[in-house]
C-alpha cells in the first residue's frame, strides 16, 4: 500500500516537472497564505525610497527580496497581482526586477512613478559598482589584488554556470526545446553569431513549437 502510494507520488512528481513552466504561476498562487489588506497607494517618493532600499540590499538576485518587500512588508501589491506583473516583466526584454520597478511605479503614479521606481532601483548599485571600479583601477597592478580578482572572477563565472544549469535542467525531458537551446548555444558561444539574427530565427520557431504542443 505504502509502496503503491509512493510510486503514484513519484509519477505525479514527474508529471509536475514536465509542466512546471506552465504551473509556476498557479503554484505561486497556491502557496500564498491569506493576506492582510493592502496598504494605501504609495507616493512617488515612497516608490523611489522603496526601490532604493531594495537595490541596496539585493545581493545575488533581487527577485525573492522584491516579492517580500512589495507583497509582505510594504503591502503595495497582492500576491496575485505581483505574480501577474512579474509574468509580464519576465516576458518583456530587460531585467525582470528592473521592469518590475517600472511597472509598479507606473501602476500607482504613472510615468513619474515609473521613473521613481527605476531610478531608485539603480541609483545605489550604480554608485557602489563605480566605487568598486575606481578601487579596481587604482589597485589592479598590485599582485595580491590581481590574485583576489582572479578568484572573484572565477567564482562569478561559476555562479553564472549554476544559473545556466538551473534553466537547462527542466528541458531535459523535452527533446525539441533542448534542441532549440542547443542551437542557441552553438550559434552564440561557438559560431559567435550576433544575438539579433539568432533570436529572430530561433524565437518564432520555438513559439510555433510551443503552440503546436499546447493544442
Amino acid at each position: 500500500m505504502g509502496a503503491r502510494k509512493n510510486r503514484f507520488a513519484r509519477r505525479r512528481f514527474g508529471a509536475n516537472l514536465l509542466s512546471l513552466n506552465r504551473k509556476l504561476t498557479d503554484m505561486d498562487h497556491d502557496l500564498t497564505t491569506p493576506e492582510p489588506a493592502l496598504a494605501r497607494p504609495p507616493t512617488v517618493w515612497e516608490i523611489f525610497g522603496g526601490f532604493l532600499g531594495l537595490g541596496l540590499i539585493s545581493f545575488g538576485g533581487a527577485l525573492p527580496l522584491a516579492r517580500r518587500a512589495l507583497v509582505e512588508q510594504r503591502r503595495w501589491l497582492s500576491a496575485e497581482k505581483f505574480t501577474d506583473l512579474l509574468g509580464l516583466c519576465q516576458f518583456l526584454p530587460g531585467g525582470s526586477v528592473i521592469n518590475l520597478s517600472v511597472a509598479v511605479g507606473m501602476r500607482f503614479r504613472g510615468v513619474p512613478g515609473a521613473l521613481a521606481g527605476l531610478l531608485g532601483l539603480i541609483a545605489g548599485p550604480s554608485l557602489i559598482v563605480i566605487g568598486l571600479g575606481v578601487l579596481y583601477e587604482h589597485t589592479q597592478n598590485d599582485p595580491h589584488v590581481r590574485h583576489l580578482f582572479a578568484g572573484l572572477a572565477a567564482a562569478a563565472a561559476g555562479l553564472l554556470i549554476s544559473m545556466a544549469v538551473k534553466i537547462l535542467l527542466p528541458l531535459r525531458h523535452k527533446p525539441v526545446a533542448a534542441l532549440i537551446a542547443a542551437l542557441g548555444f552553438i550559434a552564440i558561444a561557438i559560431m559567435r553569431l550576433p544575438l539579433l539574427p539568432t533570436m529572430l530565427v530561433l524565437t518564432p520557431f520555438s513559439i510555433y513549437i510551443a503552440s503546436r504542443k499546447a493544442r
Binding site: 513552466n21 537595490g55 541596496l56 539585493s58 545581493f59 545575488g60 533581487a62 509580464l88 519576465q90 518583456l92 526584454p93 530587460g94 531585467g95 521592469n99 517600472v102 511597472a103 510615468v111 527605476l118 539603480i122 548599485p125 550604480s126 557602489i128 563605480i130 571600479g133 595580491h144 590574485h147 583576489l148 580578482f149 582572479a150 578568484g151 572573484l152 572572477a153 572565477a154 567564482a155 562569478a156 563565472a157 561559476g158 555562479l159 553564472l160 554556470i161 549554476s162 544559473m163 545556466a164 544549469v165 534553466i167 528541458l171 537551446a181 542547443a182 542557441g184 548555444f185 552564440i188 559567435r192 544575438l195 539568432t198 533570436m199 524565437t203 520555438s206 513559439i207 503552440s211 499546447a214
Partner: protein
C-alpha cells in the same frame, strides 16, 4: 570621444530591446561588441568588470554601468545607463495595458513558453564565454567548478561563494 558615446548609445539601446529572459542573455553580445568589434578592452578585463558587478548589490546587469564608465567616464556611464534601461522600460510602460487586455489569449502563454528554450541556450552560452575568458589557470577553473556545484547543490548565499573564491584567489596558489 563623441563617437565613442554615440557607439555606446547605439549598442546598449539595441541590447536593451534584445534582453529577452533577463540581462544574462545579452552578455555574449555585449562582450562581442565591447571586445571584438570596438576593442575597448580585452576579454579578460570584461570578465573582471562582470565579476565586480556581480559582487555589488542590485539588479543583475550592473556590469552595463561599469562598462560605460570604464570606456568613457561619467558621460559614458550616463549614456550607457539611459540607453540600456530606457528602451526596455518604455516597452514595459507601453505593454502594461495590452498585457491586461490579453490575459486569456492563448498566444500570451505560447510566447512565454517559446522564449524559455531560447533563453536557456543563450544563458548557457553566456556562462561558457565568461568562464573561458575568466579562467586562464587550472586553479581558476577549479574555483569556477566548485562555485557552480555549491550553488546548484546547496542553498548557500551567492555572496559567500564569491568571498570564498576571492580568498582562494588571494592566496595566489596556482596563479602566475
Amino acid at each position: 570621444m563623441n563617437d565613442t558615446l554615440i557607439s555606446l548609445a547605439v549598442i546598449f539601446s539595441q541590447l536593451s530591446l534584445l534582453a529577452f529572459g533577463g540581462g544574462n542573455t545579452i552578455l555574449p553580445e555585449m562582450q562581442r561588441q565591447v571586445v571584438d568589434v570596438h576593442h575597448w578592452m580585452p576579454a579578460s578585463e570584461f570578465s573582471a568588470l562582470f565579476a565586480l558587478a556581480q559582487a555589488a548589490p542590485g539588479p543583475n546587469l550592473m556590469v552595463v554601468t561599469l562598462v560605460g564608465w570604464h570606456v568613457a567616464g561619467w558621460a559614458g556611464m550616463l549614456v550607457t545607463s539611459v540607453a540600456k534601461f530606457g528602451p526596455s522600460s518604455l516597452v514595459t510602460v507601453l505593454a502594461m495595458h495590452a498585457w491586461e487586455r490579453c490575459k486569456d489569449r492563448p498566444w500570451r502563454r505560447y510566447a512565454q513558453l517559446g522564449l524559455v528554450p531560447v533563453t536557456a541556450g543563450v544563458v548557457a552560452a553566456s556562462a561558457a564565454l565568461i568562464a573561458e575568458a575568466s579562467n586562464p589557470t587550472a586553479i581558476a577553473w577549479a574555483i569556477t567548478a566548485f562555485t557552480a556545484v555549491m550553488a546548484i547543490k546547496t542553498r548557500i548565499h551567492p555572496l559567500w561563494l564569491l568571498a570564498a573564491g576571492s580568498l582562494i584567489g588571494l592566496t595566489g596558489i596556482g596563479q602566475l
